[in-house]
């Protein structure tokens, strides 16, 4: 038995040196996560990415791998994040006609709302005594993941904590847009979509497409503009205020 476990350790060490295992884990969890998501009738509170991440974490624990080993192995996936971020420019270009149609509310709302999305969270966390690293991780909480990773790295936050904040924010934004819109009796799909994308990035955008194609288009627009605006403003602000 000990003979076998020694061989198992040897095998694990061998697999850890190549990215193949991390790739298989990630891809396998990606498909399994999507399948489980459909099985549960696509619940808003449990996005497929969260299911997949739980599956990967479970497998890492079972295989007694280190998270660091997994991250190193899955590095080649993260390499594609750069070109994928650039790719977000394509849907943005394709939605330009929406900006022209509704430029006034967008122009007035976006800078204020995108700034406040970061400010509210940072101020609340700071007043409750959170560390600088935590503040830098929470600041891009309404920004779509590929851009937010870039921002957090610039600010010196923790990418993992930022990702957790991103997921929670996306889920809460979906819930709150529903509630607040009902309270303010807003039914305009363009406004609902824009608010979902601006506050809830990809998760909010997925919900907006459930409302309708117009809401979906405006959510993608809100998500893209918030990402660009925050990426330009936050690092500058942090640099100037010397946080």
């Amino acid at each position: 038995m000990s003979e076998l476990s020694a061989r198992f350790q040897e095998l694990l060490a061998l697999l850890s040196t190549s990215p193949a295992l991390a790739i298989v884990l990630t891809l396998g969890a990606f498909f399994a996560g999507n399948r489980i998501f459909r099985l549960f009738n696509q619940p808003v509170w449990l996005p497929p990415i969260l299911i997949s991440a739980m599956l990967v974490s479970g497998m890492i624990a079972i295989l007694t791998m280190d998270y660091a080993e997994y991250r190193e192995g899955s590095q080649w996936l993260t390499v594609l994040l750069g070109p994928a971020t650039v790719a977000l420019g394509v849907p943005l270009y394709q939605q330009m006609h929406h900006i022209r149609a509704l430029w006034r509310p967008i122009l007035f709302t976006l800078p204020v709302a995108a700034t406040m999305a970061a400010v509210y969270a940072v101020v609340i966390a700071a007043s409750l005594g959170a560390s600088e690293e935590v503040l830098a991780s929470l600041a891009p909480k309404s920004v779509t993941a590929p851009i937010a990773i870039g921002i957090t790295e610039q600010l010196g936050g923790s990418v993992s904590l930022m990702m957790g904040g991103l997921l929670i924010t996306g889920m809460l934004a979906t819930l709150f847009v529903d509630l607040v819109a009902r309270w303010l009796s807003i039914t305009d799909h363009r406004i609902l979509g824009f608010a979902l994308g601006l506050n809830g990035h990809a998760l909010g955008t997925a919900r907006a497409f459930e409302i309708g194609p117009t809401a979906g288009a405006f959510a993608s627009l809100g998500m893209g503009l918030t990402g660009i605006f925050t990426a330009l403003i936050l690092p500058l602000t942090f640099r100037l205020t010397g946080i």
Binding site: T85, L128, I149, D188, I191
Partner: protein
């Protein structure tokens, strides 16, 4: 084959973004600069090639896969931020409620009379 050409274009724009970031000491990630460059160029050109649209579509559809390693890390940082989870939780919940309220209120204020109406 044409999809690969689109991927080449995207990667070139990403490298251009990185070059600008380093040379001008910009605090923005290379991917975002590349995205802005691409959007501006497409607006000037006024059209988009099938290969670029296809490659972008393909990459965006697997975005979830690309960010997974970071999300997995969430389950391994619990001890790192011990004692701050209350602050984090309250900031996320209250902060998101406030920012949703701000967004909807502003959009309603600045939209025309059709805001609040049905489509």
């Amino acid at each position: 084959m044409s999809m690969l050409y689109g991927f080449l274009v995207l990667t070139v724009f990403f490298i251009a973004g990185e070059v600008l970031r380093v040379l001008l000491a910009l605090p923005v990630s290379g991917g975002v600069i590349g995205m802005i460059l691409l959007t501006l160029l497409l607006m000037i050109k006024g059209s988009i090639s099938d290969s670029l649209a296809g490659a972008s579509q393909a990459l965006i559809s697997v975005l979830v896969l690309l960010i997974m390693p970071g999300v997995v890390g969430v389950f391994f940082v619990a001890d790192e931020f011990a004692g701050q989870w209350l602050a984090i939780g309250v900031a996320l919940a209250a902060g998101t409620l406030l920012s949703v309220l701000t967004t909807l209120w502003l959009m309603q204020r600045f939209s025309g009379p059709e805001a609040g109406g049905h489509e």
